[in-house]
Protein backbone atom coordinates (compact mmCIF):
# COMPACT_ATOMS: atom_id res chain seq x y z
CA UNK A 1 0.00 0.00 0.00
CA UNK A 2 1.57 3.22 -1.13
CA UNK A 3 2.10 5.83 1.53
CA UNK A 4 2.59 9.48 0.57
CA UNK A 5 3.49 12.57 2.51
CA UNK A 6 3.61 16.27 1.72
CA UNK A 7 7.21 17.49 2.09
CA UNK A 8 8.04 21.22 2.17
CA UNK A 9 11.62 22.40 2.05
CA UNK A 10 13.87 25.05 0.61
CA UNK A 11 15.66 23.92 -2.53
CA UNK A 12 18.50 26.14 -3.72
CA UNK A 13 16.91 29.20 -2.16
CA UNK A 14 13.33 28.53 -3.27
CA UNK A 15 10.55 27.14 -1.05
CA UNK A 16 9.04 24.05 -2.61
CA UNK A 17 6.58 21.32 -1.68
CA UNK A 18 5.49 18.06 -3.23
CA UNK A 19 3.68 14.86 -2.30
CA UNK A 20 6.37 12.23 -1.93
CA UNK A 21 6.34 8.46 -1.64
CA UNK A 22 7.74 7.76 1.85
CA UNK A 23 9.93 5.01 0.40
CA UNK A 24 11.88 7.56 -1.66
CA UNK A 25 15.44 8.53 -0.87
CA UNK A 26 16.36 12.19 -1.06
CA UNK A 27 18.26 11.34 -4.26
CA UNK A 28 15.05 9.93 -5.76
CA UNK A 29 13.09 13.04 -4.85
CA UNK A 30 15.71 15.55 -6.00
CA UNK A 31 16.21 13.81 -9.34
CA UNK A 32 12.70 12.64 -10.17
CA UNK A 33 10.50 15.36 -8.69
CA UNK A 34 12.80 18.38 -8.99
CA UNK A 35 15.08 17.36 -11.91
CA UNK A 36 18.24 18.09 -9.94
CA UNK A 37 20.27 15.74 -12.11
CA UNK A 38 23.59 16.87 -10.67
CA UNK A 39 22.69 14.54 -7.79
CA UNK A 40 24.10 11.30 -9.13
CA UNK A 41 23.11 7.75 -8.29
CA UNK A 42 26.40 5.99 -7.74
CA UNK A 43 26.70 3.26 -5.14
CA UNK A 44 23.39 4.09 -3.41
CA UNK A 45 24.81 2.82 -0.12
CA UNK A 46 26.57 5.95 1.13
CA UNK A 47 30.10 5.08 0.08
CA UNK A 48 30.90 6.98 -3.10
CA UNK A 49 29.61 10.50 -2.39
CA UNK A 50 28.21 11.08 -5.91
CA UNK A 51 24.80 12.03 -4.46
CA UNK A 52 26.22 14.49 -1.90
CA UNK A 53 24.16 17.61 -1.16
CA UNK A 54 24.29 20.30 1.53
CA UNK A 55 21.49 20.16 4.10
CA UNK A 56 21.34 23.01 6.62
CA UNK A 57 25.02 23.71 6.00
CA UNK A 58 26.36 20.15 6.29
CA UNK A 59 27.10 17.58 3.61
CA UNK A 60 25.01 14.42 3.38
CA UNK A 61 24.84 11.49 1.01
CA UNK A 62 21.28 11.91 -0.25
CA UNK A 63 21.04 8.23 -1.25
CA UNK A 64 20.85 7.16 2.40
CA UNK A 65 18.66 10.04 3.54
CA UNK A 66 14.89 9.61 3.47
CA UNK A 67 13.11 12.17 1.28
CA UNK A 68 10.59 12.85 4.07
CA UNK A 69 13.45 13.97 6.35
CA UNK A 70 13.86 16.99 4.03
CA UNK A 71 10.78 18.56 5.66
CA UNK A 72 11.67 22.10 6.78
CA UNK A 73 15.31 21.82 5.67
CA UNK A 74 17.42 24.04 3.42
CA UNK A 75 18.95 21.90 0.70
CA UNK A 76 21.57 22.96 -1.81
CA UNK A 77 22.65 21.06 -4.89
CA UNK A 78 25.26 21.87 -7.51
CA UNK A 79 22.58 23.67 -9.57
CA UNK A 80 22.62 26.47 -6.96
CA UNK A 81 26.16 27.44 -7.94
CA UNK A 82 25.25 28.65 -11.42
CA UNK A 83 25.32 32.41 -11.93
CA UNK A 84 22.34 34.37 -13.43
CA UNK A 85 23.73 34.05 -16.96
CA UNK A 86 24.87 30.47 -16.62
CA UNK A 87 28.34 31.36 -15.29
CA UNK A 88 30.37 28.80 -13.44
CA UNK A 89 31.39 29.42 -9.86
CA UNK A 90 35.05 29.81 -8.92
CA UNK A 91 35.31 26.27 -7.60
CA UNK A 92 33.80 24.80 -10.78
CA UNK A 93 36.18 26.87 -12.89
CA UNK A 94 39.10 25.65 -10.76
CA UNK A 95 38.07 22.04 -11.41
CA UNK A 96 38.28 22.74 -15.14
CA UNK A 97 41.61 24.58 -14.89
CA UNK A 98 43.19 21.80 -12.86
CA UNK A 99 41.71 18.98 -14.99
CA UNK A 100 39.96 17.72 -11.88
CA UNK A 101 37.15 16.41 -14.10
CA UNK A 102 37.38 13.44 -16.40
CA UNK A 103 34.17 11.44 -16.67
CA UNK A 104 32.49 13.93 -14.34
CA UNK A 105 30.29 11.55 -12.40
CA UNK A 106 31.86 12.26 -9.01
CA UNK A 107 32.26 15.98 -9.71
CA UNK A 108 28.97 17.45 -8.38
CA UNK A 109 29.37 15.56 -5.09
CA UNK A 110 32.98 16.61 -4.72
CA UNK A 111 32.14 20.22 -5.51
CA UNK A 112 29.40 20.39 -2.88
CA UNK A 113 31.86 19.09 -0.28
CA UNK A 114 34.32 21.70 -1.55
CA UNK A 115 31.62 24.37 -1.10
CA UNK A 116 31.19 23.36 2.55
CA UNK A 117 34.97 23.44 3.02
CA UNK A 118 35.35 26.84 1.33
CA UNK A 119 32.42 28.43 3.13
CA UNK A 120 33.96 27.58 6.49
CA UNK A 121 36.44 30.37 5.70
CA UNK A 122 39.26 28.34 7.24
CA UNK A 123 42.72 27.64 5.89
CA UNK A 124 43.29 23.89 5.92
CA UNK A 125 46.50 21.91 5.50
CA UNK A 126 46.78 19.36 2.69
CA UNK A 127 46.29 16.56 5.21
CA UNK A 128 43.11 18.17 6.52
CA UNK A 129 41.80 18.74 2.99
CA UNK A 130 42.44 15.10 2.10
CA UNK A 131 40.46 14.00 5.11
CA UNK A 132 37.63 16.44 4.39
CA UNK A 133 37.43 15.17 0.80
CA UNK A 134 37.70 11.51 1.75
CA UNK A 135 33.98 10.77 1.50
CA UNK A 136 34.13 10.68 -2.30
CA UNK A 137 35.36 8.12 -4.77
CA UNK A 138 36.81 9.17 -8.11
CA UNK A 139 37.93 6.41 -10.45
CA UNK A 140 39.48 8.71 -13.08
CA UNK A 141 41.66 11.45 -11.71
CA UNK A 142 43.68 9.95 -8.89
CA UNK A 143 42.47 12.81 -6.66
CA UNK A 144 45.56 15.04 -6.89
CA UNK A 145 43.96 17.46 -9.36
CA UNK A 146 40.80 17.62 -7.26
CA UNK A 147 42.84 18.42 -4.17
CA UNK A 148 44.71 21.12 -6.09
CA UNK A 149 41.48 22.69 -7.39
CA UNK A 150 40.01 22.92 -3.89
CA UNK A 151 43.25 24.17 -2.40
CA UNK A 152 43.72 26.83 -5.09
CA UNK A 153 40.16 28.12 -4.58
CA UNK A 154 40.63 28.12 -0.81
CA UNK A 155 43.75 30.31 -1.12
CA UNK A 156 42.06 32.59 -3.66
CA UNK A 157 39.01 33.15 -1.50
CA UNK A 158 41.18 33.88 1.53
CA UNK A 159 43.24 36.32 -0.54
CA UNK A 160 46.43 34.39 0.16
CA UNK A 161 49.16 33.35 -2.28
CA UNK A 162 49.10 29.63 -3.16
CA UNK A 163 52.23 28.01 -1.72
CA UNK A 164 54.66 26.49 -4.21
CA UNK A 165 54.12 22.80 -4.88
CA UNK A 166 56.81 20.59 -3.40
CA UNK A 167 59.02 19.09 -6.12
CA UNK A 168 58.06 15.60 -7.11
Amino acid sequence: MAQYQLVHFNLNGKDVERMVDVRASLTDMLRNDYHMTSVKKGCEVGECGACNVIIDGECFNSCIYLAVWAEGKRIRTLESLMGPNGELSDIQQAFIEETAVQCGFCTPGFIMTAVEILESGKLYTDAELRKLLSGHLCRCTGYENILRAVKKTMYRRLGLPMPAEPEA
Binding site: M1, Q3, D21, V22, R23, A24, S25, D28, E44, V45, G46, E47, G49, N52, E58, C59, F60, N61, I64, Y65, L66, V68, W69, E71, T113, K131, L132, S134, G135, H136
Partner: protein
Amino acid sequence: MYDMKALYQAASVEEAVALRLEHPAAQIIAGGSDVLVQMREGKRAGAELISIYGIDALRGVSMEPDGTLRIGSLTSFSHITRDPLIQKYINVLGEAVDQVGGPQIRNIGTIGGNTCNGVTSADSASTLHAWDAVIELTGKNGVRRLPIRDFYIKAGEVDIRAEDGEIQTAVLIPKESYEDCFGHYIKYAMRNAMDIATLGTSVNVRLSADKKTVERARVAFGVAGPVPLRAATAEAMAKGQIVSLELAERFAQAVTADINPRDSWRAAKDFRLHIAVESAKRAFIESVKLAGGEL
Protein backbone atom coordinates in the same frame (compact mmCIF):
# COMPACT_ATOMS: atom_id res chain seq x y z
CA MET B 1 12.92 3.72 -3.51
CA TYR B 2 13.51 1.66 -0.45
CA ASP B 3 11.63 -1.59 -0.07
CA MET B 4 9.80 -0.73 3.14
CA LYS B 5 6.34 -1.78 4.18
CA ALA B 6 5.52 1.37 6.12
CA LEU B 7 7.21 4.36 7.71
CA TYR B 8 6.16 5.78 11.06
CA GLN B 9 7.75 9.02 12.22
CA ALA B 10 8.16 10.12 15.81
CA ALA B 11 8.65 13.78 16.73
CA SER B 12 9.11 13.10 20.46
CA VAL B 13 10.33 10.30 22.73
CA GLU B 14 6.73 9.69 23.89
CA GLU B 15 5.58 9.25 20.29
CA ALA B 16 8.45 6.87 19.60
CA VAL B 17 7.58 4.73 22.62
CA ALA B 18 3.90 4.67 21.59
CA LEU B 19 4.80 3.72 18.00
CA ARG B 20 7.09 0.94 19.24
CA LEU B 21 4.32 -0.53 21.37
CA GLU B 22 1.90 -0.27 18.47
CA HIS B 23 4.29 -1.81 15.91
CA PRO B 24 6.51 -4.25 17.81
CA ALA B 25 8.04 -5.74 14.67
CA ALA B 26 9.14 -2.39 13.27
CA GLN B 27 12.81 -1.46 12.98
CA ILE B 28 13.99 1.78 14.58
CA ILE B 29 15.89 4.05 12.21
CA ALA B 30 18.03 6.89 13.56
CA GLY B 31 20.42 8.29 10.92
CA GLY B 32 19.87 5.28 8.70
CA SER B 33 23.46 4.79 7.54
CA ASP B 34 23.21 1.14 8.59
CA VAL B 35 19.49 0.40 8.38
CA LEU B 36 18.99 1.88 4.91
CA VAL B 37 22.10 0.15 3.58
CA GLN B 38 20.90 -3.19 4.98
CA MET B 39 17.51 -2.53 3.43
CA ARG B 40 19.17 -1.83 0.08
CA GLU B 41 21.09 -5.09 0.40
CA GLY B 42 17.81 -6.90 0.95
CA LYS B 43 18.45 -7.86 4.57
CA ARG B 44 15.69 -5.70 5.96
CA ALA B 45 13.62 -5.55 2.80
CA GLY B 46 9.90 -5.23 3.37
CA ALA B 47 10.32 -4.03 6.97
CA GLU B 48 8.29 -1.43 8.77
CA LEU B 49 10.42 1.48 10.00
CA ILE B 50 9.99 3.83 12.92
CA SER B 51 12.03 6.95 12.20
CA ILE B 52 13.29 8.74 15.30
CA TYR B 53 15.54 11.03 13.25
CA GLY B 54 13.17 13.95 13.79
CA ILE B 55 13.40 13.93 17.61
CA ASP B 56 15.56 17.03 18.07
CA ALA B 57 15.35 16.70 21.86
CA LEU B 58 17.77 13.76 21.56
CA ARG B 59 20.49 15.90 19.96
CA GLY B 60 23.37 17.59 21.72
CA VAL B 61 25.78 17.22 24.61
CA SER B 62 25.10 18.66 28.05
CA MET B 63 26.31 18.50 31.64
CA GLU B 64 23.88 17.28 34.31
CA PRO B 65 23.89 18.87 37.81
CA ASP B 66 25.89 15.95 39.26
CA GLY B 67 28.59 16.36 36.61
CA THR B 68 27.43 13.52 34.37
CA LEU B 69 28.14 14.17 30.72
CA ARG B 70 24.99 13.54 28.73
CA ILE B 71 25.19 12.78 25.01
CA GLY B 72 21.79 12.68 23.33
CA SER B 73 21.47 9.47 21.33
CA LEU B 74 20.86 11.25 18.03
CA THR B 75 23.95 13.44 18.30
CA SER B 76 25.91 12.94 15.09
CA PHE B 77 29.57 11.91 15.11
CA SER B 78 30.68 15.24 13.67
CA HIS B 79 28.77 17.17 16.33
CA ILE B 80 30.35 15.03 19.06
CA THR B 81 33.82 15.76 17.67
CA ARG B 82 33.16 19.51 17.57
CA ASP B 83 31.42 19.73 20.96
CA PRO B 84 33.29 21.82 23.57
CA LEU B 85 32.25 19.58 26.50
CA ILE B 86 33.49 16.47 24.70
CA GLN B 87 36.73 18.24 23.80
CA LYS B 88 37.25 19.26 27.40
CA TYR B 89 36.33 16.07 29.25
CA ILE B 90 36.53 13.10 26.88
CA ASN B 91 38.38 14.26 23.81
CA VAL B 92 39.26 10.69 22.87
CA LEU B 93 35.59 10.00 22.11
CA GLY B 94 35.53 12.90 19.64
CA GLU B 95 38.73 11.58 18.05
CA ALA B 96 37.38 8.03 17.85
CA VAL B 97 34.12 8.96 16.15
CA ASP B 98 36.04 11.25 13.78
CA GLN B 99 37.38 8.01 12.26
CA VAL B 100 33.97 6.57 11.38
CA GLY B 101 33.34 6.24 7.61
CA GLY B 102 33.85 9.56 5.84
CA PRO B 103 32.70 13.15 6.41
CA GLN B 104 29.15 12.70 5.11
CA ILE B 105 28.69 9.52 7.15
CA ARG B 106 29.85 11.36 10.27
CA ASN B 107 27.16 13.99 9.63
CA ILE B 108 24.33 11.43 9.49
CA GLY B 109 25.61 8.66 11.79
CA THR B 110 24.54 8.88 15.43
CA ILE B 111 26.12 7.60 18.62
CA GLY B 112 22.85 5.89 19.52
CA GLY B 113 22.74 4.02 16.25
CA ASN B 114 26.39 3.08 16.57
CA THR B 115 25.76 1.43 19.95
CA CYS B 116 22.28 -0.04 19.28
CA ASN B 117 23.67 -1.98 16.31
CA GLY B 118 25.64 -4.04 18.78
CA VAL B 119 28.57 -4.44 16.43
CA THR B 120 32.01 -4.95 17.89
CA SER B 121 33.77 -2.80 15.29
CA ALA B 122 31.82 0.42 16.04
CA ASP B 123 34.40 3.17 16.52
CA SER B 124 32.55 4.65 19.49
CA ALA B 125 32.08 1.34 21.28
CA SER B 126 35.55 0.61 22.63
CA THR B 127 35.95 4.14 23.98
CA LEU B 128 32.51 4.06 25.61
CA HIS B 129 33.42 0.71 27.20
CA ALA B 130 36.77 2.04 28.35
CA TRP B 131 35.05 5.01 30.02
CA ASP B 132 32.28 2.96 31.71
CA ALA B 133 29.52 4.72 29.81
CA VAL B 134 25.94 4.26 30.95
CA ILE B 135 23.17 3.67 28.42
CA GLU B 136 19.85 5.38 29.04
CA LEU B 137 16.73 3.76 27.62
CA THR B 138 13.23 5.20 27.76
CA GLY B 139 10.13 3.03 27.50
CA LYS B 140 6.60 2.67 28.79
CA ASN B 141 7.91 2.08 32.33
CA GLY B 142 10.05 5.19 32.29
CA VAL B 143 13.82 5.45 32.20
CA ARG B 144 16.19 2.51 32.60
CA ARG B 145 19.94 2.96 32.90
CA LEU B 146 22.53 0.25 32.59
CA PRO B 147 26.30 -0.01 32.19
CA ILE B 148 27.34 -0.30 28.56
CA ARG B 149 28.96 -3.69 29.11
CA ASP B 150 25.57 -5.08 30.19
CA PHE B 151 23.89 -3.37 27.24
CA TYR B 152 25.80 -5.52 24.74
CA ILE B 153 24.40 -9.07 24.86
CA LYS B 154 26.02 -10.69 21.85
CA ALA B 155 27.09 -9.77 18.34
CA GLY B 156 24.34 -7.62 16.85
CA GLU B 157 22.13 -7.85 19.94
CA VAL B 158 21.72 -5.29 22.71
CA ASP B 159 19.47 -5.08 25.76
CA ILE B 160 16.75 -2.87 24.37
CA ARG B 161 13.25 -4.09 25.12
CA ALA B 162 10.92 -3.63 22.20
CA GLU B 163 8.07 -5.10 24.28
CA ASP B 164 8.45 -2.16 26.69
CA GLY B 165 8.58 0.27 23.79
CA GLU B 166 12.15 1.21 24.63
CA ILE B 167 14.41 3.45 22.61
CA GLN B 168 17.87 4.58 23.57
CA THR B 169 17.72 8.22 24.64
CA ALA B 170 21.23 9.03 25.88
CA VAL B 171 24.77 7.86 26.44
CA LEU B 172 26.02 9.05 29.83
CA ILE B 173 29.58 9.40 31.09
CA PRO B 174 29.60 9.69 34.91
CA LYS B 175 31.92 12.28 36.45
CA GLU B 176 33.86 9.63 38.38
CA SER B 177 34.60 8.04 35.03
CA TYR B 178 36.03 11.04 33.17
CA GLU B 179 37.51 13.19 35.92
CA ASP B 180 41.29 13.57 35.49
CA CYS B 181 41.28 10.84 32.85
CA PHE B 182 43.14 11.07 29.56
CA GLY B 183 42.78 8.58 26.78
CA HIS B 184 43.80 7.63 23.27
CA TYR B 185 42.09 5.54 20.59
CA ILE B 186 43.80 3.66 17.80
CA LYS B 187 41.80 2.40 14.85
CA TYR B 188 43.64 -0.15 12.80
CA ALA B 189 42.14 -0.41 9.33
CA MET B 190 43.31 -0.85 5.76
CA ARG B 191 42.30 2.64 4.62
CA ASN B 192 42.06 5.97 6.43
CA ALA B 193 38.47 6.58 5.32
CA MET B 194 35.38 4.52 4.58
CA ASP B 195 36.74 1.43 6.30
CA ILE B 196 35.72 -0.70 9.24
CA ALA B 197 38.19 -1.30 12.05
CA THR B 198 40.27 -4.46 11.87
CA LEU B 199 40.83 -3.70 15.54
CA GLY B 200 39.92 -0.73 17.72
CA THR B 201 41.86 -0.02 20.93
CA SER B 202 40.91 2.60 23.51
CA VAL B 203 43.08 3.21 26.56
CA ASN B 204 42.75 5.83 29.29
CA VAL B 205 44.64 6.53 32.46
CA ARG B 206 44.35 8.59 35.62
CA LEU B 207 47.69 9.38 37.21
CA SER B 208 48.56 10.37 40.79
CA ALA B 209 49.02 14.08 41.57
CA ASP B 210 52.79 13.81 41.05
CA LYS B 211 52.17 12.03 37.68
CA LYS B 212 54.42 9.17 38.73
CA THR B 213 51.89 6.44 39.51
CA VAL B 214 48.98 4.95 37.59
CA GLU B 215 45.88 5.36 39.74
CA ARG B 216 43.65 3.69 37.20
CA ALA B 217 44.17 2.37 33.70
CA ARG B 218 41.36 1.14 31.50
CA VAL B 219 41.51 -0.53 28.12
CA ALA B 220 38.77 -1.74 25.81
CA PHE B 221 38.85 -3.30 22.38
CA GLY B 222 36.54 -3.55 19.42
CA VAL B 223 36.83 -6.61 17.15
CA ALA B 224 38.76 -8.54 19.81
CA GLY B 225 35.64 -10.58 20.56
CA PRO B 226 31.99 -10.78 19.45
CA VAL B 227 31.20 -7.61 21.41
CA PRO B 228 33.46 -4.77 22.59
CA LEU B 229 35.31 -5.86 25.72
CA ARG B 230 37.60 -4.71 28.51
CA ALA B 231 40.92 -6.30 29.38
CA ALA B 232 40.55 -6.55 33.16
CA THR B 233 43.81 -8.44 33.77
CA ALA B 234 45.89 -5.67 32.21
CA GLU B 235 43.94 -3.00 34.10
CA ALA B 236 44.46 -4.71 37.47
CA MET B 237 48.13 -5.22 36.70
CA ALA B 238 48.77 -1.54 35.94
CA LYS B 239 46.86 -0.14 38.91
CA GLY B 240 49.17 1.47 41.48
CA GLN B 241 52.29 0.87 39.37
CA ILE B 242 55.03 3.40 38.70
CA VAL B 243 54.78 4.90 35.21
CA SER B 244 57.45 3.53 32.88
CA LEU B 245 57.98 2.18 29.38
CA GLU B 246 58.48 -1.21 30.93
CA LEU B 247 55.01 -0.92 32.52
CA ALA B 248 53.56 -0.05 29.09
CA GLU B 249 55.10 -3.24 27.73
CA ARG B 250 53.79 -5.43 30.55
CA PHE B 251 50.35 -3.79 30.37
CA ALA B 252 50.21 -4.46 26.63
CA GLN B 253 51.27 -8.09 26.96
CA ALA B 254 48.63 -8.64 29.65
CA VAL B 255 45.73 -7.73 27.34
CA THR B 256 46.02 -11.12 25.63
CA ALA B 257 44.65 -12.76 28.81
CA ASP B 258 41.20 -11.32 28.17
CA ILE B 259 40.72 -10.89 24.45
CA ASN B 260 39.55 -13.45 21.97
CA PRO B 261 39.71 -12.17 18.40
CA ARG B 262 38.69 -14.39 15.53
CA ASP B 263 39.90 -15.20 12.08
CA SER B 264 37.89 -13.34 9.47
CA TRP B 265 38.41 -12.23 5.92
CA ARG B 266 39.54 -8.88 7.30
CA ALA B 267 42.41 -10.28 9.38
CA ALA B 268 43.72 -13.46 11.00
CA LYS B 269 43.39 -14.04 14.73
CA ASP B 270 47.18 -14.03 15.23
CA PHE B 271 47.46 -10.72 13.44
CA ARG B 272 44.70 -9.20 15.57
CA LEU B 273 46.43 -10.41 18.74
CA HIS B 274 49.64 -8.84 17.54
CA ILE B 275 48.09 -5.45 16.77
CA ALA B 276 46.11 -5.57 20.03
CA VAL B 277 49.33 -5.74 22.03
CA GLU B 278 51.08 -3.11 19.94
CA SER B 279 48.08 -0.76 19.94
CA ALA B 280 47.59 -1.18 23.70
CA LYS B 281 51.19 -0.21 24.26
CA ARG B 282 51.08 2.83 22.00
CA ALA B 283 47.72 3.99 23.32
CA PHE B 284 48.90 3.55 26.92
CA ILE B 285 52.04 5.60 26.27
CA GLU B 286 50.04 8.32 24.54
CA SER B 287 47.47 8.39 27.35
CA VAL B 288 50.18 8.77 30.00
CA LYS B 289 51.72 11.62 28.03
CA LEU B 290 48.35 13.33 27.70
CA ALA B 291 47.90 12.97 31.46
CA GLY B 292 51.18 14.78 32.01
CA GLY B 293 53.29 11.73 32.84
CA GLU B 294 56.80 11.11 31.59
CA LEU B 295 58.16 7.82 30.37
